[in-house]
């Protein structure tokens, strides 16, 4: 008792839903970027989620839990983020002109992520140095946790945070990606 919904009609509804401001999160999945598949989520305040190798079901549940249940795949609101990410990955962009929505992260995380946003293209810092910047010089380990749970990697550049001994330490998207991003930026050779 069902009828195929044409892609045009489907797209029309999705676009209208976003245009009417009815969504908690609009998301899209960018396939085959230079660093693999990325899910990008955007709220009314800015980009709120970037996930490497997304498992859609898990990811949709998470977005709904954190931001509200009106989560829908729509490409239009994500377009600007997609373009900037592509430019960045092609090496032609060194700074993101994007609003970031980190309302849902706990206070300490937000403070650290805001400090992280100041770490510029092509440079690196350490977990300890970032901790000191936020006024908690002994919180290097906690800063590591914040990096690991960063909701918008790449745009908030947790790949630029490395161990005090110069080792890359860890990355939510896997160490190979961290290395690739740092190489792209010329931070390592």
């Amino acid at each position: 008792m069902s009828t195929f919904v044409s892609p045009a009609l489907d797209e029309r509804f999705r676009t209208a839903a976003a245009a009417e401001g009815l969504l908690d999160v609009a998301y899209d999945i960018l396939t085959d970027t230079a660093i693999g598949d990325l899910l990008v989520g955007v709220s009314d305040r800015g980009v709120c989620r970037i996930t490497f190798d997304p498992e859609p079901e898990v990811e949709l549940e998470r977005l709904a839990r954190l931001h509200g249940p009106r989560v829908l795949r729509v490409s239009k609101p994500v377009e600007r983020v997609r373009i900037e990410l592509e430019e960045y990955l092609a090496g032609s962009r060194t700074h993101f002109d994007l609003d970031v929505d980190i309302r849902v992260v706990p206070e300490f995380h937000r403070v650290v992520l805001e400090e992280l946003a100041r770490v510029g293209y092509g440079s690196t810092t350490t977990y300890g140095a970032l901790a000191a910047k936020t006024g908690h010089p002994n919180a290097a380990r906690a800063v590591g946790t914040v990096m690991n749970r960063n909701p918008v990697p790449i745009v908030l550049p947790c790949h630029r945070v490395i161990g005090a001994n110069g080792s890359l330490t860890g990355y939510g998207g896997g160490l190979a990606r961290k290395e690739k991003l740092l190489r792209l930026e010329g931070a390592i050779f």
């Binding site: 009828t3 839903a17 009106r70």
Partner: protein
């Protein structure tokens, strides 16, 4: 514990084909497209107020049938429901559709929602903008009328 409200994407993917089929049979394919968009926009507006994820199929079909009734009222002051779109194979509703053609719109909607879509009378009542009792009455009046016609 009742099921949690699923992400809208999941809800939409699960029910869109059935909703579009339902609307296509009531309105014809062309008008069904606008009604389809309106159905899911209405569902989206109401979505934050849902308290659990139970009976979502009935819920969205209810919204769709209300839109069909609204359109019928707006376009046919005498209260005659629009022609059916001609569509491919579907079971319950399709068997009911030609049979119920001659019924007054409320009775027809009640019969089809009850026996074609298996909705409860409370849901049919809200779909038709009336009460559970009125929906039950409309459905049984419709069935009586059908029996009479068949004799």
């Amino acid at each position: 514990m009742p099921a949690a409200v699923p992400p809208f994407e999941t809800f939409y993917e699960t029910h869109r084909a059935e909703v579009f089929g339902f609307l296509g049979r009531r309105l014809g394919r062309e008008r069904a497209e606008d009604a389809f968009q309106e159905t899911f926009l209405r569902a989206l507006r109401a979505y934050p107020r849902l308290e659990h994820g139970e009976h979502l199929r009935a819920w969205v079909l209810t919204i769709a049938s209300r839109i069909v009734v609204d359109l019928a009222r707006r376009q046919r002051p005498q209260g005659e429901l629009p022609e059916l779109g001609s569509e491919d194979d579907r079971p319950a509703f399709e068997e009911l559709a030609p049979l119920t053609d001659g019924l007054p719109p409320k009775e027809r909607a009640a019969v089809v929602l009850r026996y074609g879509y298996d909705l409860g009378y409370d849901e049919i009542g809200s779909a038709l903008g009336s009460t559970e009792a009125a929906a039950r009455q409309a459905a049984s009046a419709g069935v009586r009328r059908l029996r009479k016609e068949q004799q």
